[in-house]
Symmetry: C2
Subunit: 221 residues, 2 copies
């Protein structure tokens, strides 16, 4: 029951990973990089603190360049982020050993988001199941679960040490002499998970439930 | 962390209930009836076998009559089922003590299904969070989890002892002299959950994970 889960170290992808684990899946976190920065290190650090298996998947820099072109053309990042996310999902799904992929996309996300035909197409083309644990829950529920589970750091995007597409996209735009603030919204808060909220949550505590109690015997809920 | 979960005794709503429990919610199952049949007894029986709290919510018969009119007018049941589901969600959400509602609707369902504006409207009008644990998963994932968790009985709709809207809707149509087969598709398989798959799963075993192992100590996954 292994699932390969796209992971940025943020609260959404961390929460989704926890849900997958609670459903009995063996979760392997995958952080994508295009090789322009080492932001994946932050996701790795969080993955280690949470006790998940983690790998870094390097995708071709030309995908990031194509995304940058889209962002410049549109004057906003939506299509570029969507493009990178689809390429990342496809790269993981195309691997022989992969039969389940997942991500932390939410009901309220505009991008990245695969509509039903796209989700089914991904599954059919690569013979995988695509699981989105957060798709059926809104911000209230995400927030109440995240608050119970994780220590989270929230900062503006420009400052945060994170491992998502946006960081490398901003970096490449800067390299191209384009101000990322002309494309990304100004006050755009991002989150990074620092670890489990309670001190007793280590590798052992992955069965932790948001009741605030450590798992004990058969009453692990 | 109490959630009121619309429950038919079928595999989808049972799986969704299990997921909610695994996320740390206190799950109360709610089975709707319009008072024309006692099909809710099957859902109650399954709820008891699975060890969940359960209640029966009686809605006005006129809602079922309105749904029957829609089904006859359309020659198919989609709009009627959608109407009844929305009324059921609203009835639960409108109760003072309710802050979270949920159901077993899936990514691949056409009806009942609330699109994003409808889901948000429900949440805003009643001040609740609406949680759909199965929205982000496809039939493959539903099947693999159901197979690990539950003993399931599958039969054609006309025969199955179940507690969903369809049973009462078919019954009312028959009372009105209308053959339900002129409205519902002929070969339409329905599922009913009979209990947990493994013998050790009783009230104690609700922390069960699909690994097939009973929860033990802190390694409950």
């Amino acid at each position: 029951m292994k699932v390969y889960h796209l992971y940025s170290g943020g609260k959404d992808s961390s929460l989704a990973a926890w849900i997958l684990m609670r459903l009995g899946y063996e979760v392997r976190l995958v952080t994508v990089t295009f090789g322009t920065l080492e932001g994946w290190k932050f996701a790795r650090e969080t993955a280690e603190r949470l006790g998940f298996e983690h790998e870094v998947l390097r995708l071709p820099r030309r995908l990031l360049e194509k995304a940058a072109e889209m962002a410049v053309e549109d004057g906003r990042p939506g299509r570029a982020i969507q493009f990178l996310h689809e390429k990342a999902l496809e790269a993981i799904a195309s691997r022989r050993e992969v039969t389940r992929i997942s991500d932390g996309t939410r009901r309220d996300d505009r991008v990245p988001y695969l509509d039903l035909p796209k989700a089914r197409s991904l599954e059919d083309r690569f013979g995988v199941a695509y699981i989105r644990p957060l798709l059926g829950i809104g911000y209230r529920t995400v927030n109440e679960l995240v608050q119970k589970l994780f220590e989270v750091e929230i900062r503006e995007s420009e400052e945060l040490e994170k491992s998502d597409y946006e960081v490398e996209l901003r970096h490449l735009l800067r390299e191209l002499g384009i101000d990322p603030l002309s494309i990304f919204p100004k006050s755009h808060y991002q989150s990074r998970v620092l670890g489990w909220k309670h001190e007793f949550i280590g590798r052992e505590g992955r069965g932790f439930t948001p009741s605030g109690k450590p798992p004990q015997g058969s009453s692990s809920r």
